[in-house]
């Protein structure tokens, strides 16, 4: 597949609509129907197909909008980032395969990396030359990093790393791991945490895929047995890397996947259109129950759009983002999970004689229902988000 990447990038200053119009036009003209989940031609894209598509998006000015030009970005603002995300959301395109690099590793390297590291890593992330995976969670340490055990010990200017990570998404395809370790012992609690950019082909790394509920192997356990990396793989000083990561994570939680409500809306449209495409199924849409549920979901989608647009306005105005990423994540995961269950209930009644669109929707939303079980879990379980809101936004006393 070749894409039209020889396209002029608009100057956002020309008009408020310029960047969104560009994104809309380019995406609609270029996204192959085989990569649109709402198309009857849909075929699960390969890693390379996803890679090529994402690289083309980047070349077309639709990724790296807010990154500095010297590292391959376009030096624009969150407003263009949002405008592009709205159009990304509106099309049922594949999830990004480079998101760990773009949303997590990149910003952290930007915050604490050396100039060499920035030059080395950042442009390749945007150009989809390198995939990253995230090595934070461990079997015994989720949100509670006090129990983190993976250890990095300095040896003759190198670091020897031993330990185990889990829930490492994309580890099978990753070129680098953004790895969190500790330099001391568990008794040090939150002290001595150190981050690395570890090449995944380093000797001693073993990746064991975890089959997830939707049948895919998108997560893995990663074992580090006497993995030795040079000091140049270190991101920041002990504690510095992780405290930067915490700042970055809190910003990222508010700014990543901004397309969510627009994608959510595209999914609801796909569901409804599938039912409209079949005369028998279309009758269901005359039932007040489905009308009202769809109305409720549309209400939630608009609420989520509001939260995200407000966050961009406030951040563009220089306001600290604080913990408000938790609001977006919580609202999205709860409403979307409920939507997935509702959509599943609808498609579970689709018969094999139904229209091709309906059968496509049945397959899509059955998987979506299963996958949505994880939405209240990953990127901070709902209870953690609620605790963050209670503590950092409402300033309620801490739970014991």
């Amino acid at each position: 597949m070749t894409y039209n990447i020889e396209v002029a990038h608009p100057d956002p200053a020309t008009s408020r609509s310029a960047y969104r119009a560009h994104a809309r036009e380019w995406l609609r003209a270029n996204l192959p129907s085989s990569m649109r989940a709402d198309s009857v031609d849909y075929k699960t894209p390969s890693l390379n197909e996803c890679r090529d598509w994402e690289e083309a998006m980047y070349r077309a000015g639709l990724a790296g909008m807010t990154w500095p030009k010297e590292y391959g970005g376009y030096g624009l603002t969150l407003r263009e980032h949002l405008a592009v995300n709205k159009e990304i959301g509106a099309l049922m395109m594949p999830e990004s395969v480079g998101s760990v690099g773009k949303e997590l590793a990149g910003p952290i390297i930007m915050a604490v990396g050396t100039e060499e590291q920035k030059q080395e890593f950042l442009p390749k992330i945007l150009a989809m030359k390198n995939y990253w995976c995230q090595g934070f969670s461990e079997p015994e340490a989720g949100s509670d990093l006090v129990r983190l055990r993976t250890r990095a010990v300095e040896e003759n200017g190198n670091w020897r790393i031993n330990g185990q990570k889990i829930w490492t998404s994309g580890a099978m395809k990753a070129d680098y791991c953004l790895l969190l370790t500790r330099t001391g012992t568990v008794a040090d609690k939150h002290k001595g945490l150190l981050m690395f950019a570890v090449p995944m082909n380093t000797h001693g790394i073993r990746v064991v895929p975890i089959k997830s509920i939707d049948g895919k192997e998108s997560f893995a356990e990663v074992f580090f047995d006497d993995v030795v990396v040079p000091d140049s793989a270190r991101l920041g000083k002990p504690d510095e890397g992780w405290s930067a990561a915490i700042r970055v994570l809190s910003i990222e939680r508010a700014t990543n996947r901004m397309y969510r409500p627009w994608r959510f809306e595209a999914e609801l449209k796909m569901l409804v259109a599938a039912f409209k495409s079949d005369p028998e199924l279309a009758k269901l849409l005359e039932d007040g129950y489905y009308q009202r549920r769809i109305g409720q979901i549309a209400t939630e989608i608009d609420g989520l759009k509001g939260l995200i647009e407000q966050a961009v306005d406030q951040m563009a105005g220089g306001a600290p983002i604080g913990a408000r990423g938790s609001l977006n994540k919580l609202f999205w995961s709860e409403t979307h999970q409920a939507f997935a269950t509702f959509a599943y209930e609808m498609v579970s009644q689709i018969k094999p004689t139904a229209s091709a669109e309906a059968l496509r929707a049945k397959k899509h939303f059955t998987t979506a229902y299963l996958f949505a079980r994880a939405e209240s879990i990953y990127a901070g379980v709902s209870e953690v988000q609620l605790d963050i809101i209670a503590q950092r936004i409402l300033n309620l006393p801490k739970d014991l």
Partner: protein, 317 residues
């Protein structure tokens, strides 16, 4: 009043002071205080005696009224003043010489109108008529009260036989008024919910059980966090509804309105629950907010609004 440096929060603060000042006063005295502070003319142009602000300023101002539990037809006054700006009656309303209520269901043609509040004290009542609306002399119609939801500020039904029309609104003007009504009532509801949330938070912080404040209990903290989430969502949704998108297109207000009303009911009901027995009494004023928001809910039939949002989405998909 086109100074860009004035922020909505500043107006909200000033409005809050006026509303606090009006508290406990008679209807006529409240009218005087609120008029004096310009609140009826918030969204009326300066050349027509108003403050010349747009709805994005109206939202926090009305929200403060919800938060402070103002029991007065402020939204109705703002709406009718805005719809009749430039006419004598509009000016009289901005100035507080006249007051108007609105009956949200029924019509002049049906001969009755319902779901109006504050009718007994108002000079006028706005009622649907044809595709537009008619402002009626309140004294020319027969008024019945239904106190079952709120004995203090009941819902009213009006029999409209022989009612005297003093002004009319075109279909377009009435549609605009209804759009603004959903924005401002949504803001009132969001403010009422926020006030209930704040009350619950301070009650929970002060109430000790088994040696710790109740607000340290996870069940309480999570409920409070949900209240906060929904409050933020309501405000963000309302501000979004009145803003144009990147292409300059106007947005619909129904989802933001329905969201704000639903969120507010949830929050106030939960706040009552968190107050325990105290939440259930007449003294603690949470029930006032519940009644006020439920009156808006009934007037606009929020459930029906949600259904119509669904039907519209289905039709467009």
């Amino acid at each position: 009043m086109s100074d860009d440096s004035l922020r909505p929060e500043d107006f909200a603060e000033a409005a809050g002071a006026a509303i606090t000042d009006a508290e406990g006063k008679s209807f006529a005295e409240k009218t005087a205080v609120l008029a004096e502070n310009g609140l009826f003319g918030v969204i009326v142009a300066e050349e027509q005696g108003g403050l010349g602000l747009d709805l994005s300023f109206g939202i926090p101002i009305v929200a403060v009224a919800g938060k402070l539990q103002l029991r007065y037809p402020l939204v109705e006054q703002m709406l009718v003043a805005s719809a009749l700006a430039g006419e004598d009656i509009g000016a009289a309303i901005v100035g507080g010489e006249k007051t108007a209520a609105i009956a949200w269901q029924g019509s002049l043609e049906e001969g009755y109108a319902t779901h109006a509040t504050f009718v007994a004290d108002a000079d006028y009542v706005l009622v649907a008529s044809g595709e537009g609306a008619a402002l009626l002399d309140r004294a020319s119609g027969e008024v019945q009260e239904d106190p079952s939801l709120d004995p203090d500020y009941p819902q009213y039904t009006l029999k409209l036989e022989g009612a005297a029309t003093v002004a009319t609104l075109s279909a377009e003007a009435f549609a605009k008024l209804k759009f603004k009504a959903k924005v401002l009532y949504g803001a009132f509801a969001a403010g009422a919910g926020e006030g209930a949330m704040d009350r619950a938070a301070s009650h929970m912080a002060g109430r000790v059980q088994f040696g710790r404040p109740l607000s340290a209990k996870q069940a309480v903290r999570h409920t409070m966090a949900r209240m906060k989430l929904l409050t933020e969502t309501s405000y963000a949704g309302l501000q979004r509804a009145i803003a144009q998108d990147e292409f300059g297109a106007a947005r619909d207000v129904d989802t933001a309105f329905a969201g704000a009303i639903g969120n507010s009911c949830f929050i106030i009901e939960k706040a009552i629950h968190l107050h325990g027995g105290m939440g259930f009494t007449w003294e603690l004023p949470l029930h006032c907010s519940l009644r006020d928001v439920r009156k808006i809910d009934a007037a606009f039939n929020t459930g029906g609004v949600v259904k119509s949002i669904g039907k519209a989405f289905i039709a467009a998909a």
